[in-house]
């Protein structure tokens, strides 16, 4: 197991009596002919799948055999996220919120992985993992509060929409700079290991973010420092407009894992059970063996990158339609449920109606709320306000008292 792997990668004891390589940097034999190692990109690491596109279990021994209740919950969380996405996307189009990013096509990666974790496991994300929070029970009111930056927002209205965070749900606040969370997750996992509380850390990122230097840092640190950490890469084919053949030339992201001495797997990201199984086993072993795992979930970004992007400028509608209509994580799970008579057209109709209603209620409530108090612009820069910041806050108030007609004061909490 892990101890063998770790042992093999450690430096060999020096023994000059044998005719074998003594270089401290690697454990290998000599060869007597010139041969470059070929990257294997034509026939890459296989994609692990549990059910086919019609929701049929392919290999019964891989069926996680989840209860009806669990599976229906998966489905409801995925579809609730989808409903929230549609409403908030439209609200941005109408100028009611400033920005939004949907999760279309990647709902299965969120729910499947979140379900395989312990609720105390710490989550570091990129920005397209709202389903993880949804699965953990983050209230719709708080999703909306963050997007509207209203007085209920736990983040106090300081960040752009979809930059969620929840201390209670162990979901570290999202930030915009890509991949910065990757080495941070390694540090958090190292601290968790020292606490010895059977806690794992999971870190999500896209395939584009994996090109950042911080991804290299995080992979290498977590391997050498033996951190109980799951790296979860959402490979959805695009980083904004950049297709993967302009992002990398190796066999995706999964193929990089072994180079760092990391156990790695590639899964079908539209198969919630494949994602669940891989995450479950990676979590079990990461905590037991204190080593990192890499999961690359292959999927497709069905929506635009964000509300500031029109993806028809760089990819065909046909391509998008294939994934939306023929290979979608939500429809696949619905096939699975329908085949077991766990879900009917009636269930679907009433759930759609109910989820739309709850989202709209939260939406309307969030829109009516005041924005946070203006003083909150100055707090939390440091743990305590510095004299300099207190002066600047006073200066702002003096100014807006004098020019109050020129500022939208009424929108803010008093």
């Amino acid at each position: 197991g892990a101890s063998n792997l770790a042992g093999a990668l450690r430096q060999q004891p020096f023994d000059s009596s044998e005719e074998k390589p003594q270089f401290p940097g690697a454990s290998a034999e000599f060869i007597d002919h010139l041969e470059f190692i070929q990257p294997n990109v034509i026939s890459g690491i296989p994609v692990y799948r549990v059910m086919d596109r019609a929701g049929q279990i392919i290999n019964p021994s891989e069926d996680p055999q989840l209860s009806k209740e669990t599976v229906v919950n998966f489905y409801q969380k995925m579809t609730l996220l989808n409903t929230m996405d549609r409403i908030l996307y439209e609200s941005q189009r109408q100028g009611r919120i400033s920005f939004y990013m949907t999760n279309y096509g990647e709902e299965g990666t969120h729910i499947g992985s979140a379900a395989a974790l312990d609720s105390k496991d710490l989550v570091f994300g990129q920005y397209r993992e709202a389903g993880v929070l949804m699965y953990r029970g983050f209230p719709l009111d708080l999703f909306m509060a963050q997007c509207y930056a209203n007085a209920d927002d736990l983040g106090k209205g300081r960040q752009m929409p979809v930059h969620y965070g929840s201390k209670d749900l162990n979901f570290v606040t999202i930030s915009s700079p890509l991949a910065t969370q990757i080495p941070q997750a390694a540090g958090a996992a190292y601290a968790a290991k020292r606490e010895n509380t059977n806690r794992a850390v999971i870190c999500y990122f896209g395939e584009g973010a994996a090109s950042e230097g911080d991804a290299h840092a995080g992979f290498n640190f977590s391997a050498t420092l033996e951190c109980p950490l799951i790296f979860f890469c959402r490979n959805n084919g695009y980083a904004i407009s950049t297709p993967t053949n302009e992002q990398y030339r190796g066999d995706g992201i999964a193929a990089r894992g072994p180079g760092y001495g990391m156990l790695s797997i590639r899964v079908d990201g539209n198969d919630v059970f494949a994602v669940y199984n891989a995450t479950k086993e990676a979590r079990r072993r990461a905590v037991a063996e204190n080593q990192p795992f890499l999961i690359e979930a292959m999927t497709y970004r069905i929506g635009h990158h964000s509300t500031s992007d029109d993806s028809s400028a760089y990819r065909s509608v046909d391509e998008v339609n294939y994934w939306d209509k023929q290979d979608h994580p939500i429809s696949r799970l619905r096939h699975y449920m329908t085949a077991r008579s766990w879900w009917s057209e009636d269930n679907e109709r009433s759930w759609r109606k109910q989820s739309r209603k709850t989202v709209m209620e939260a939406f309307e409530k969030a829109e009516k709320r005041h924005k946070p108090h203006l003083d909150l612009m100055f707090t939390d820069v440091y743990d305590e306000m510095t004299p300099n910041l207190i002066r600047q806050r006073e200066s702002m108030w003096r100014h807006i008292q004098q020019y109050k007609d020129h500022y939208p004061l009424d929108a803010y909490a008093k």
């Binding site: 020292r194 230097g213 004299p387």
Partner: protein
């Protein structure tokens, strides 16, 4: 290997002072491991020095008075005072970890000698050679509840971690609405000129970070300040960057309390009271200005007030402005280049606050706006003669 060579030659430069400090510590109990190390290194040092020609040091270290309020003291140089602070921290805080490049064997400047043996390899460990990783890792460990003490081997190599410091560490608390923070992170880095460090072993990057709300930046002038300020940084609930003047690692020797104590952040210290000119600096430059204070008194009959700023961000405007309101004249000096240097911030603030008190334009004596050069170092640095000339002009304005 470049950095190791650098550290070795840093040892060469200060072999006089360093050796004395070492010898004094061979039998001093808690610090005995330093002595052992020294004995192994010293023959090397003396054989290499014959081929080296060194410009005389640009400053004379003035030890602080022996602190009496924190219990027993031991003679320590600056690197030993760092070790002592780290030792106190690891002993009292079980979550504290120290990591970076080459810290396990004691560090290229000997700041972590003995700590791994004493506290375990899970608490004092080497990382891969990757500064952005070191700081990112430290942020994560701090966010998860550990006290994270990261070392960047030279301040010159902190820039790969600039994004993690500026966009992440500094903004962690603010952007999360105080749900998460990395306040238990401290980043230590050797800093400042060293006689022959050239472009990448001499830099003073504090002004780059001073433009970044959310972090604290601290620079000590000697072993007593170093230990007290470092312990304050480690205890502080905000991410701190602690720059250690590497030229002082061996050259600065004084009595330092062995137990833990703190010196408050964001407080400047008036080292010498005066009535004609205020001089402000930090780090090694304090010792340059101490000599300028004497020169000004002896040669010009001018009374200088000397202030060690100690914390660059958030800085102590009150102490500086109060002094300038009294003297009416201000000279700020730092090794870093003048344009965009932190003296500009001090100068502008004092001008706003003390306009009616100022009797001459505020003067900055700083490094030139060039990269830090190798063989031209004696001409580059804002030495005592440049500062003395500036005082002369301030007085005769």
């Amino acid at each position: 290997s470049l950095t190791t060579a650098m550290a070795a030659s840093a040892r060469l430069l200060f072999r006089g002072a360093g050796l004395k400090a070492y010898t004094a510590n061979v039998n001093s109990g808690a610090q005995s491991s330093f002595g052992t190390t020294l004995l192994r290194l010293s023959p090397n040092c003396s054989s290499q020095t014959k081929t080296q020609i060194k410009h005389a040091s640009h400053f004379t270290y003035h030890p602080d008075p022996v602190p009496t309020m924190y219990g027993p003291t031991t003679k320590m140089n600056l690197f030993q005072s760092v070790t002592s602070a780290l030792d106190n921290t690891l002993a009292s805080d079980p979550t504290a970890v120290i990591f970076g490049e080459d810290v396990a064997f004691g560090g290229v400047f000997r700041c972590t000698v003995g700590l791994r043996d004493k506290y375990g390899k899970d608490r004092v460990f080497n990382t891969p050679l990757c500064e952005q990783g070191i700081v990112g890792f430290g942020i994560g460990a701090a966010a998860a509840g550990a006290t994270a003490i990261a070392e960047i081997q030279f301040a010159d190599y902190i820039y790969p971690a600039f994004d993690q410091i500026v966009n992440e560490a500094a903004k962690y608390r603010y952007r999360s609405g105080n749900l998460f923070d990395c306040g238990n992170l401290t980043i230590r880095a050797p800093w400042g000129c060293v006689g022959h460090g050239s472009l990448y072993h001499s830099q003073s990057p504090e002004a780059f970070f001073a433009h970044c709300p959310g972090i604290k930046i601290v620079i000590p002038r000697g072993p007593v300040q170093c230990k007290g300020l470092l312990l304050s940084c480690i205890e502080d609930h905000n991410p701190c960057i602690f720059f250690e003047p590497k030229i002082l690692y061996r050259a600065a020797v004084e009595q330092v309390p062995t137990e833990a104590y703190t010196i408050p952040l964001s407080q400047a210290e008036v080292l010498q009271e005066g009535s004609d000119v205020t001089l402000v600096a930090w780090g090694t430059q304090i010792h340059v200005l101490r000599e300028v204070v004497s020169m000004a008194q002896e040669k010009l009959g001018v009374s200088c007030e000397l202030i060690d700023l100690q914390t660059i961000l958030p800085w102590d405007t009150e102490t500086v402005c109060k002094s300038v309101a009294k003297t009416g004249r201000l000279l700020i000096s730092h090794e870093a280049p003048v344009t965009g240097g932190f003296a500009a911030e001090i100068s502008s603030t004092v001008q706003e606050e003390c306009f009616l008190n100022l009797e001459a334009p505020i003067t900055r004596v700083c490094g030139y706006d060039t990269p830090f050069p190798h063989i031209f170092e004696p001409f580059y640095i804002p030495d005592k003669w440049k500062c003395f000339e500036a005082v002369k002009r301030l007085i005769s304005y």
